[in-house]
Symmetry: C2
Subunit: 421 residues, 2 copies
């Protein structure tokens, strides 16, 4: 073997190594290196431009200024079946900064949902997600936290990230909850109530055929502690559902739909187009999409929620035009009265329904001709297709997605249950 | 340099090569090698089992026999924004065989939608998709055709694949149309009418904020030639939409939702659970989901459609219980009369509406209390939120997704237009 041969072999090894690194590693991890230049968000219609189809939204007049998306920081808590797709959608849309929280590892058992690949099994979800997302769009700043936000010290870190994780060290713009348990949702709720930060909750049922998203504006809409979690009724007889020794079922379809509806509404909020839906359910068995809006509970156990409610009331008093934060003005008209009865405008394709504590106007997109009913007697009459996640006092550890029937308890009984958790 | 060193270098090269191949190539391309063993579809609840969350659907009683999915062959025509996600969902669900048709290449301009990665730019879409899908689930047999089915010879090949592409050389089970143009949809329609093959059509509007899926059962529901294509109204003033020199806009959210709804309904059909929706629209601006059902046009220009209508009528006569192919029996009741007036049963969460040619009962999930109206005068009164894709005779090249207003033409005028294409 000549020296030349050895040099050739060395060159080949180097080339292999280079290709290997390109294939297995993202070009920029965790926000990119100092040298990395973020590409221009161009509207030019050429095959090589990854933003042409997004900038077309602006050129068509649907979005006012698409490039605004680069100013925003979104936190995704939970990067599993819904959260990973959520993060990928935001990355492909060119969001400014994405902050991911999860403490779980990728397993082969996750392969029935979109996003992760078998080769990533064993990696932490945030690392695997960050690698893939940076490869997809190196322009997005990605920050990851391999932590469990329900633990005290890690909750403090979470709170601090929400306060200062924004692009310029300011607070983040939006939090998307893609977790699968009650405790984590309550942690997000507590943090967002304290900071007055808007967030979206999302969930998929254990039987894989129902899901929902919910927009929570502290002080304006019910927080996660104001009422028991609202889930979509699957119309499956509870008795026929065998749950013993069975893991939760899941489908890439249901999770893809929920992630799509979640990010779509997040984009509507960030870029100011269309109408945000307060609560949007999805029943896959019948392609039914119940909607609803619940106003805050004046007796909520979360003190920050009460504080946000006061602030919201003052804001409405000072500037009645700004009552509906983040929503087109004409959508809901508030009247000034003790119970805060809401009137819902008749609109052809509106599906916003407003429900107050104590007073219960009902209207949804399945009951267009229903008159708005009012009753002081019943607690939160729910729209068709929706139910509370739990009902009885002996259910001490509520499963967010369990499929129990509508509650018959009073507000106080339900609140006592919430408090006992 | 010793011989041992050279041996070591050779070994390292071999290892690099092996890793390279594993990273860049699917373990099995185009159906797998003879040695490849398809994994058992196990219900065991362990982290290493990619099927535990799917088999849970069966253990919970939602799906009768999940493993049936391995018997089925699904054809996806068009693997772009909707089709690629559709193919990934089916792959992760463990479909038996997947056949992909497309003639396009991956471009950076596709990166605002899910699935493809920048490193795949330049590859044909079917090759890139097949590589990724085989890596995600090597149990799925994948067959690809880098062809344009609207060309005569390639249409013949397409027809032949539909006839014999099934797992045991029999015909395929379902065709999913994820194309973005009228001609390709018509090609699929022609083939499926000839073979009496069920298919789903799907589409996303050029302004990115609307989409739909449609289930077509030759002879039982309107085929794609029976009526002008039905699209979702976006409620955007046409005058404010600037289209000159702008490429079509697209969003990963809308496409993800449409793919999710499409595959969900395909799974319902293949595995026999829930209710299939004939036409399901999605308006992202208002989270509105209009539904509809159109029966076949007795004057359809497609002779095979007329033949399938005859066969369907005979089938109904012979066995009235089997009238609603693929749908739960109680959903729609057909009455035997000249116009085939359909009665729609009142059901709490049903959103199936049936519209006949000439006779027009309307009902959808936004108009639950609407009475069913009948009129021989008007042609296909559409449900709220829906409209035909084109209307006037001078629009010679119809854009499937163009957002024109509801037609005022008669059936015959519309059919004349269809014929002139």
């Amino acid at each position: 073997m000549s020296l030349e041969d050895v040099e050739n072999i060395k060159k080949r090894i180097l080339n292999f190594k280079k290709t290997l690194i390109e294939l297995s590693e993202p070009s920029t991890l965790n926000g990119g290196t100092a040298e990395h230049t973020v590409r221009e968000m161009s509207a030019e219609v050429v095959d090589s431009n990854p933003y042409s189809r997004l900038m077309a939204l602006q050129r068509m007049g649907i979005v006012k200024n698409y490039e605004d998306i680069r100013k925003y920081t979104v936190v995704v808590v939970g990067v599993g079946g819904v959260g990973s797709v959520t993060a990928e959608m935001l990355t492909r849309c060119g969001i400014g900064k994405l902050i991911l929280f999860d403490y779980d590892k990728v397993e082969l058992a996750n392969m029935n949902r979109l996003f992760y690949q078998p080769a990533q099994a064993g990696l932490s979800k945030v690392t695997a997600a960050s690698m893939t997302l940076s490869r997809i769009n190196p322009d997005v700043k990605i920050q990851t936290y391999n932590t469990n936000i329900t633990l005290t010290t890690q909750f403090e870190e979470f709170l601090s990230v929400l306060k200062t994780g924004g692009i310029n060290g300011d607070r983040v713009d939006l939090v998307l909850s893609c977790v699968d348990n009650y405790e984590a949702r309550m942690a997000i709720n507590t943090a967002c109530n304290e900071l007055g930060l808007n967030w979206f909750e999302s969930g998929v049922s254990e039987n894989a055929v129902c899901g929902h998203i919910q927009y929570i504006v502290p002080g304006e809409s019910a927080c996660f502690a104001c009422a028991p979690p609202l889930v979509v009724a699957s119309d499956i007889d509870e008795k026929t559902l065998k749950k013993d020794g069975v893991c939760a079922a899941s489908l890439p379809t249901t999770m893809g739909v929920v992630a799509g509806l979640l990010v779509q509404n997040a984009l509507k909020k960030l870029l100011g187009f269309g109408k945000i839906t307060w609560y949007l359910g999805y029943n896959a068995l019948s392609d039914f999409f119940p909607t609803m809006m619940i106003k805050p509970n004046p007796n909520c156990n979360d003190n920050f929620c009460i504080k946000q409610q006061e602030e919201f009331k003052n804001k409405v008093k000072e500037d009645p035009d700004s009552t509906i934060q983040d929503l087109p003005e004409e959508q809901v008209i508030h009247e000034d009265n003790t119970w805060g009865i809401s009137l819902v405008e008749e609109e052809t394709t509106s599906n916003t329904s407003v429900v107050d504590f104590g007073i219960t106007p009902i209207k949804d997109n399945t009951n267009k001709n229903n008159s708005i009913t009012e009753s002081n007697e019943e607690y939160l009459s729910l729209n068709e297709g929706l139910e509370f996640a739990y009902q009885s006092a002996d259910q001490t550890a509520p499963h967010e997605e369990s499929l129990v029937k509508e509650t018959e308890l009073s507000v106080d009984e339900l609140r006592a249950q919430m408090a006992s958790l």
